[in-house]
């Protein structure tokens, strides 16, 4: 496929015209490569399930999943579940950033604080997220509070840790320069520590949200009566495999969308904009 797409054109073309054509071809071919495995997978699904006469209690047909999807979209129930889940992720993550970043910076600045909290942190990172579900439901009851707590917890520990590393990587000469130019603690925080640690913070955020997304599903299964995880698990009781598969796909697609269009660009942008500044100092 690429062979054809990349073969240079034989017609005499203007330089820029040829370049444009080549670029378009390359983009097409990469899109084709991106989609091909999914096409194959869906085709296999469409062919194999009827051919092998698989019971809908074991694996749904493509048509029934599609039907559940369209009805969920038209009556809005799918959106309700999606927004319930997204709102919890948003709340937990926002809280984690608001508390985790300042705390991480404090740990990065002060050897004493980090010396005290580092071992505790290492211990807690392993526990972050899902392991808190029993305690969270005990303290906050079944419901949104417990789920938000789990998300918060997963993001918090990752962000604190990477923020601390980020601050440590800011070069000493940069800190000295800023101080000798008369920057007070507040200014230092805004002008130096925050931008200096930003690339590292975003990396941590991306990692933490990976844990949080899984934690969210688990917490919703265990502790709530709405959201993607809940719907997913409820469907199991009635052997509604079409709902289960639809929910799994939704969970995967949502994460990919978040990662691709929110976290990855954010990471790229901070690394590009501020990563360079950090390197100049080192």
């Amino acid at each position: 496929m690429t062979g054809i797409a990349l073969r240079p054109s034989r017609e005499p073309l203007s330089d820029s015209g040829r370049r444009q054509l080549a670029r378009r071809r390359a983009r097409l071919s990469s899109a084709a490569w991106f989609l091909s495995p999914f096409v194959v997978l869906v085709a296999l699904w469409a062919v194999l399930v009827p051919a092998l006469d698989v019971s809908p209690r074991t694996f749904p047909s493509l048509a029934s999943v599609w039907a559940v999807f369209t009805s969920g979209v038209t009556d809005g129930s799918l959106w309700t579940q999606v927004f319930a889940s997204l709102a919890r992720v948003g709340a937990g993550t926002g809280l984690a950033i608001a508390i985790g970043v300042p705390f991480g910076i404090l740990m990065g600045i002060s050897r004493g604080v980090s010396g005290f909290f580092s071992p505790l942190l290492r211990f807690s990172v392993a526990l972050a997220g899902i392991a808190w579900i029993p305690l969270a439901t005990l303290w906050l009851g079944y419901g949104t509070g417990a789920v938000v707590f789990i998300v918060f917890n997963a993001v918090f520990f990752a962000v604190v840790y990477t923020t601390m590393l980020g601050v440590r990587q800011i070069s000493t000469s940069l800190l000295r320069a800023a101080r000798s130019l008369g920057a007070g603690p507040g200014r230092m925080f805004v002008e130096i520590y925050l931008p200096g640690a930003a690339p590292s913070i975003v990396t941590g955020l991306r990692m933490g949200m990976g844990f949080a997304w899984r934690g969210l599903i688990a917490a919703e299964i265990i502790a709530t009566s709405s959201g993607l995880g809940y719907t997913l698990f409820l469907a199991r009781q009635y052997y509604e495999t079409d709902v289960i598969i639809l929910m799994m796909i939704t969970i995967g697609v949502l994460w990919l969308l978040m990662d691709r269009f929110l976290l990855a660009p954010l990471e790229r942008r901070t690394v590009e904009r501020w990563g360079a500044r950090r390197q100049v100092g080192t």
């Binding site: 370049r19 080549a22 670029r23 390359a26």
Partner: protein, 260 residues
Amino acid sequence: MSLLSVENLNQVYTDAYTHEEMTAVGNVSFDIPEGQFISLIGPSGCGKTTVLNIVAGFIRASGGSVMLAGKPISGPGPDRGVVFQDFALFPWKSVEANIAFGLKMRGVDKAERKRRAREVIELVGLSGFEAKYPHELSGGMRQRVGVARVLATEPTMMLMDEPFASIDAQTRRVLQQEVLRIWEQERPTVLFVTHDVDEAIFMSDRVIVLSSRPSAVQADIEIPIPRPRTWSDVYADPAFVRIRRELMAMLGVDDDEKGS
């Protein structure tokens, strides 16, 4: 007869993202007789590394031919040992294992490998460091390992791409003399890429100057300075001063600073 012959070499790169084509090497031809030490110099970005990579077999030329001992080059091989600017040592192998790597690939047995590796280690002055890992060595020592690794396999040709560029000035002077001393013992054919005019003159029998992109051979200069050479002799040699001025003018550098 010449060992390496490069004819009408041409290299066009296509940018992976914009698909713009760029001619790096326009038309380059030169020959290297067996046992000669040749330097390739030219302005930055003129395609020196590209030429060396083609000779090494790492990349395929867009056009022209490269023949080694009458046979076209089809890929990398142990007949052409490469010394890299960034050393390219295997971090997970000790000094000795790095040096013995080529012999191991050739299927030489363990005892012989060890004997030969020790011999070369002695030659490059690294005795006592056999069991160290590359990250435990200084830059100069690492490049000694890089040279030794190539010497151990006794290649017909050695290719070096700015091997001393990332090494401090004093150590560089020492290494240049060392490499010459070793070269005079074994006399492999050498293609040496550098942007340092002094280094090119000091090391070589001939200096080939490439023009800027798309490059062609701009000049091919014999260095009539007798060997063995040392820096103090060479600096005083009138031929050195004359050729240096000539090359500097060719590269468009004003000759107002002595040495670099």
